[in-house]
């Protein structure tokens, strides 16, 4: 599973930068297909003579298209407390002092959408829950601290939500069950200023969409 994540995140940047060979394209298309169905990679089954990637295929590697909106209201039809009881000792050990142990809240560094190692155990719990509840979908809402400008923060919050989504896709969850959107800096978890406050506001909140 971790090898799948690698292709979705960091190394795909380097590989994309040199999208010159048909072989590389073929391998990457194979990877994205592999992610979706959660099958192990088998490089040998891909034909090196398939045509160059179309823009649509490139887009798959930069991000997995979001599912259609669906018929739910993010305010009234989503339960953000769903994961709060799932606190294990492992998460308590890995959480750093600012960022708490609530499973449904994933914290980020400044200006960053990278999934921090301390946040991974929470996402694995969410992933397990989703595997056990295959009919349920979640909404991931991205948030930022107050320091950026409104519009940049709205986009950055969305990118954080999408990073959480990509991580869960890497754990084998279908992207069709993973909705995202962003509040930017508009809904801080904690009011005030200073790094201790900002750290709690740089987050993605995971809510379960009511059935």
């Amino acid at each position: 599973m971790s090898s799948t994540m690698k292709f979705l995140n960091a190394p795909s940047r380097a590989v994309l930068g040199s999208l010159v060979s048909c072989v590389v394209v073929a391998a990457l298309v194979g990877v994205s297909a592999g992610c979706r169905s959660s099958r192990p990679l088998d490089m040998g089954t891909y034909d090196a003579t398939i045509p160059m990637a179309t823009p649509a295929e490139e887009d798959l590697l930069l991000g997995t298209p979001l599912p259609s909106r669906g018929n739910f209201d993010p305010q009234s039809d989503v339960s953000y407390g769903e994961f709060s009881q799932h606190v294990s000792q492992r998460i308590q050990r890995s959480a750093d002092e600012h960022t708490g142990t609530e499973v449904g809240k994933i914290y980020f560094a400044t200006n960053s959408n990278a999934i921090l190692p301390s946040q991974r155990p929470k996402l694995e719990l969410v992933g397990n829950w989703m595997l056990q509840n295959p009919t349920r979908s979640i909404l991931i809402a991205g948030h930022c601290d107050e320091r950026g400008t409104f519009e940049y923060n709205r986009a950055l919050g969305e990118r954080r939500a999408i990073a959480v989504r990509n991580y869960l896709i890497g754990l084998g969850i279908s992207g069709d069950r993973l909705h995202t959107f962003s509040y930017g800096e508009e809904k801080p978890a904690v009011l005030g200023t200073g790094e201790a406050v900002w750290a709690q506001n740089r987050r993605a909140e995971i809510g379960v969409i009511n059935e």
């Binding site: 979001l66 409104f150 990118r159």
Partner: protein, 381 residues
């Protein structure tokens, strides 16, 4: 026979026309005397003219009025505005009918344009956001701060207003569906239409110069990127293909290029992309944290927001020379710059107050609209 004063006026006008509207304009400022406008609307018209002319940067209001005298009559919705030379001879006379504020704004623009060649900005309309009710709502007003109209009462989040160049429509982001979608408000009919509701976020709309398209940030393909879509709604065309967050587009006046924000290196910076080529290049602003670009109507400069010692300040970059100047300073935040049509003045927000900045003189003026917690101003052209 041309009087000495009239000759001076003509010479200074001709001299200004042949210079680019920059530092030289101020050197050529004209000295005018504002005599009280008579009539029952005269006092209000006089004070509005005074406000606009004193902020123009090209008119000095003096008791002697070496270069001319402003006078006239304003009664019952009619303004007869007159500009005399210092000997009392009529230079310009114009009659306006309508709301006294429209009349005064139009006369102020006529004075500035006739005497200095610089475009007048008194008739500018500003769309903005205020949180005075406890929730962000969309508002519009005159650049004087008068005639504030609260357009929305949705009691939900909204932001990123962009008024079109003609001042007839506002595109903005609202969460009234629960999700961030782009809406367009028609200011003639006060009808609102949702024009982008793709999965993820729909935000940061910027009007193309022709008013037919919008650039905006959409994320439905799995990453926040810049797209161009019809202003009436329709199929978006993707412009950027980058890692990182792409947001806050602004168009070049010829509609061939877009400048936007990308944070791939770990901190937001300004990028410039030629639409036909699809190749993006970073602008060398020298600022490690740059957002909120706004391309001036004359195409020559970019106003943007940069973080300096933890504070947001307004900067201007000249695109030809690459020169970057910091316009604001001090221990306050200044955000969301929006150029007015003369490419000299811009409007920004500072701690809930809207300010008019003169990028040449460095002067700033509070736009007193009696509305608290204002942000994100956008000026008509």
């Amino acid at each position: 026979m041309i009087s000495k004063t009239t000759a001076t006026l003509l010479v200074s006008f001709a001299w200004l026309l042949c210079c680019t509207a920059q530092v030289t304009v101020k050197k050529g400022a004209v000295n005018l005397r504002l005599d009280g406008i008579s009539g029952n609307e005269g006092p209000q018209v006089t004070s509005l003219l005074q406000l606009h002319l004193s902020r123009s940067g090209v008119v000095n209001l003096t008791p002697t009025g070496e270069d001319g005298v402003i006078t006239g009559n304003a009664s019952g919705g009619t303004l007869i505005g007159r500009l005399l030379d210092s000997n009392g001879r009529e230079y310009v006379s114009r009659t306006y009918t309508g709301d006294w504020r429209d009349n005064a704004n139009r006369f102020a623009d006529l004075i500035v344009e006739t005497l200095t060649g610089q475009k007048g900005i008194a008739t500018t309309r500003i769309a903005f956001i205020s949180k005075r009710t406890g929730q962000k709502e969309l508002y519009i007003m005159d650049i004087s701060g008068q005639r504030v109209v609260q357009l929305t009462r949705d009691n939900t989040l909204c932001g990123s207003p962009a008024i079109d160049h003609a001042g007839q429509r506002i595109a903005y982001t609202s969460y009234r569906s629960g999700f961030p979608d782009i809406y367009v408000v028609d200011l003639q009919t006060y009808r609102r239409r949702r024009i982008a509701e793709f999965p993820g976020i729909n935000s940061g709309a910027a009007w193309a110069p022709n008013g037919l398209q919008l650039a905006a940030t959409l994320s439905f393909e799995g990453n926040p990127e810049i797209y161009v879509l019809p202003a009436a709604g329709g199929t978006p065309q993707r412009i950027t293909r980058a890692h990182g967050t792409d947001s806050s587009p602004t168009w070049s006046p010829d509609a061939r290029e877009i400048i936007y924000v990308n944070d791939d290196p770990g901190s937001p910076r300004l990028m410039r992309i030629v639409l036909a080529e699809g190749k993006a290049m970073a602008l060398r602003t020298g600022q490690p944290y740059a957002t909120e670009p706004d391309w001036s109507p004359d195409g020559k400069r970019i106003a943007f927001n940069a973080k300096v010692a933890g504070r947001n300040h307004i900067f201007v970059m000249e695109l030809d020379s690459g020169e970057v100047r910091q316009l604001t300073s001090g221990n306050s935040d200044f955000e969301d710059p929006s150029w007015t049509r003369n490419s000299r003045h811009l409007v920004c927000a500072s701690n809930g107050t809207l300010l008019l900045l003169d990028a040449i003189s460095g002067q700033s003026y509070v736009i007193n609209n009696e509305i608290s917690q204002c942000s994100e101003p956008s000026c008509s052209r």
